[in-house]
Symmetry: C2
Subunit: 352 residues, 2 copies
C-alpha cells in the first residue's frame, strides 16, 4: 500500500551540504518536479539528550514545527503531491494537529481546504485552523460522525487524508532519516513512538526500511508503540495474538492525540511492530500526568500526548540494557494545550 | 557596556561541521567551560523566502524555539553564565516571552527562578511560566510596578534580566551569525527588526559588528527598527533629533511584545540604528491587523508582534531597491496568542 513505483536514493555527501530541512533527502522523496514543492523549510529538528531513570536516551524535538506538531512532515509531502496534480481544493478530517498542518500547507500552496472536525474540538485548535484561511466544518457528535461527514464531502473533492494518503507517510518517514543522520548514519537499537493512527510509527518503519535496503544502515531498530490505557486497541491486540478486536473499552485520556478507537491502518501498525521484534506498551493517566509534570520541571513544554510517549519510554527502559541506543520523540508543543495544562494546575489547587 | 574582555573567533570550516544550533559558534560565545552550558540544542532557525508586494525578502523563523520565541537565544547564554558562577537562584521580570524562556532554562539547569509579572498578564503565558516550575510572583498594577517589585527582590537574589544582562545580548547576537552563514557568509543590506527593549536589535548589532571586525563580512547592514504607533518612544525620538523624551503618548496595541514605554537601553538602540545608516518606522493597529491576517493566509501562524514587524517591512520596502538583500524575522509563535487571535475572529463576526 505504501509502495510507489520508484526507488529512493541517498547521496550522503550531497545531503550533508544542504540546508537542514526534510528536503535535504530530495532523492528519497517521491515528488517529481521541484516547482511543486510546498515547504516552510521544515525539519531536521534537534535530537537531544534526555536522562530518564539514569538511562540516557535521545529525544527528537518534533514539537518545533511551524504548525506546532510533527504533522508538518507529512503535510509538506502530501500537499506538494496534491499541488503537482493541479488540484485546487481538498478536504481533510482531524480533531487537531493534522488539520492545522494541512491547513497551513494549503494556505502556502494557495489550495482551498475544508477541515472537518468534531464541534467539541478545543477552541484554540479551531482558531489556528481558521486563521490559515481554511473552511472549518464543525460536525456535531463523535469523531466517527466527523469521518462519515468528510467521506460524503470527499465524493466530489480530493480527500487529503493524513491517515490514508501514502504521501503523508512518505513525509513522516523523514523522522527516521534525520535520526540516523544525527547518529552519524547509524540506526538506533530501539525507537519508541506514540501510536494513534500510526502516522509516525508507520512512517518511521518506511524510513528505516528504505535506509536498510539502500545499505545506509545495517539493522532495523525495534519499534515500540505507546498508547494510553484509556484508549489502547493496538496494545490490547498485541496481548491477544496481535489480532485486532472491536470490543475495546474506551475511557477518556489526557493523550488526545493518540485516542483513536479504530485505527485505519491498525493491522499494518501491528505487523510493523511485531516484524521489528518490538512491542506495544500502554500507560495510565497517572503516568501521563506525572511525566508531563516532570518534563515541565526539566524545561520541556509539550502536549500531554508527548508525555504519554515519554511515560512509555520509562516503562520500556526497565526491560532494556543501558548500552542500547534508544530514540523517542516529542510530537506536539505545550502551547497547543495551554488550556488543558492550566486545568491541571486548578485540579491540583495551584500545585503542579 | 557590552564589551567583555574577550575576542570572538570564527572558524568557518569548523562551524560548518557542527550541529545546527547557536553553539556551533562556540568560540564567539563568552562562556568559559563546556560543562556550564545550558542548552536545548536551540537555534539555526530556518531563513525562508517571503514575497511582499513583489519584493522577495528573507524571514528568519525565530518563533520556532522550544519556549515559543527568540528569547531562548538570550536565555541559553545568560543562564549558562549564571550556572558557571554557581548561582542557584535568580529573579527576572517579564510580561511574557522572556519570562517563559528564562524559566525554561532555569528548569534545565536546576536553578530556582522567581518570575515577576503584571497580574494582568494573559493566563496562558502565566501557565507556561508556572509549568516550568518557576515561582510566579504576580504584581498588581502596571509593568513599571512589576519592575519596582523585582528591583526590591533583586537586592538579595541574582537579577537575571533580559534587558540589562549583557550575556543575554551575547545570545541574541547569534541571530546575526546565523543570517550571515545562511546567506553564505554574506551580510544582508538591510535588517528590519522589532524594537521594544531592543534585545534582538542590539544583539544583532553586536553580532554583525563582531563578524565585521573578524573580517567574515564586508559591510554592516542598515538596521531598521519597528515599533507600534500605539507605543513608539524610539520612533518619536528618531523624529526629534534622535533624542529620547519622556512625554510619549501611549495607546494600547496588539503588539504587546514591543509595547515598552521607557526602553532601558533606549539611547543605545537609537545610536545603533543611526550609526548603521538605518531608520525607525512605526505601524498602525490597522497595518498590524491586516498583516497578521495576511500572514495567516500565507500559512504563517505568529504572534501579533511579529505581524507588526512584517508591517514595518512593507513600509520600508517602499523606499528600498529590489536588488537589496532584506532580512526580517518572526519572533513569537501564534500559539502564544491563541486567545487574542480568537478574539479577532469574534470582532470580525467570524470573518478574519
Amino acid at each position: 500500500m505504501f509502495d510507489l513505483d520508484w526507488i529512493p536514493r541517498f547521496d550522503l555527501q550531497a545531503i550533508a551540504q544542504r540546508p537542514p530541512t526534510i528536503w535535504r533527502y530530495r532523492e528519497a522523496l517521491p515528488i517529481d518536479n521541484e516547482e511543486s514543492i510546498i515547504s516552510f523549510d521544515e525539519g531536521f529538528t534537534p535530537l537531544s539528550r534526555l536522562v530518564i531513570d539514569d538511562h540516557e536516551i535521545w529525544v527528537k524535538q518534533d514539537h518545533l514545527f511551524a504548525s506546532g506538531s510533527y504533522k508538518d512532515r507529512g503535510a509538506s509531502l502530501m500537499i506538494s503531491k496534491v499541488n503537482s496534480l493541479g488540484i485546487d481544493h481538498v478536504v481533510e478530517d482531524s480533531s487537531g494537529n493534522a488539520g492545522a498542518a494541512v491547513a497551513a500547507y494549503c494556505a502556502r500552496a494557495g489550495i482551498a481546504c475544508d477541515i472537518y472536525a468534531p464541534a467539541s474540538t478545543s477552541a484554540g485548535k479551531l482558531t489556528q485552523i481558521r486563521w490559515y484561511g481554511a473552511q472549518l466544518c464543525p460536525i456535531p457528535g463523535s469523531r466517527a460522525d466527523t469521518s462519515t461527514a468528510v467521506m460524503r464531502a470527499a465524493d466530489g473533492i480530493y480527500y487529503a487524508s493524513h491517515s490514508w494518503n501514502p504521501y503523508f507517510f512518505h513525509g513522516t518517514k523523514t523522522w527516521a532519516f534525520e535520526v540516523c543522520e544525527q547518529l552519524s548514519w547509524r540506526a538506533p537499537d530501539v525507537a519508541i513512538l506514540p501510536v494513534g493512527n500510526g502516522t509516525l510509527l508507520l512512517g518511521a518503519a518506511i524510513g528505516f526500511s528504505e535506509l536498510l535496503t539502500a545499505g545506509v544502515i545495517k539493522q532495523m531498530p525495534r519499534l515500540i508503540g505507546v498508547q494510553a490505557l484509556g484508549c489502547a486497541p493496538l496494545y490490547q491486540a498485541s496481548l491477544r495474538g496481535w489480532q485486532i478486536t472491536t470490543d475495546v473499552a474506551v475511557l477518556s485520556t489526557l493523550a488526545e492525540g493518540i485516542a483513536i478507537t479504530q485505527p485505519i491502518r491498525g493491522q499494518q501498525i501491528l505487523d510493523a511492530v511485531r516484524k521489528s521484534g518490538g512491542a506495544m506498551v500502554a500507560v495510565s493517566e497517572e503516568e501521563i500526568h506525572d511525566t508531563l509534570r516532570w518534563l515541565g520541571h526539566q524545561g520541556w513544554y509539550v502536549e500531554p500526548t508527548s508525555a504519554a510517549t515519554i511515560a512509555g519510554v520509562r516503562q520500556a527502559l526497565r526491560h532494556l540494557d543501558k548500552d542500547q541506543i534508544v530514540v523517542s520523540t516529542l510530537t506536539g508543543h505545550g502551547l497547543k494545550s495551554t488550556g488543558k495544562i492550566g486545568h491541571l494546575f486548578d485540579d491540583a489547587s495551584g500545585e503542579a
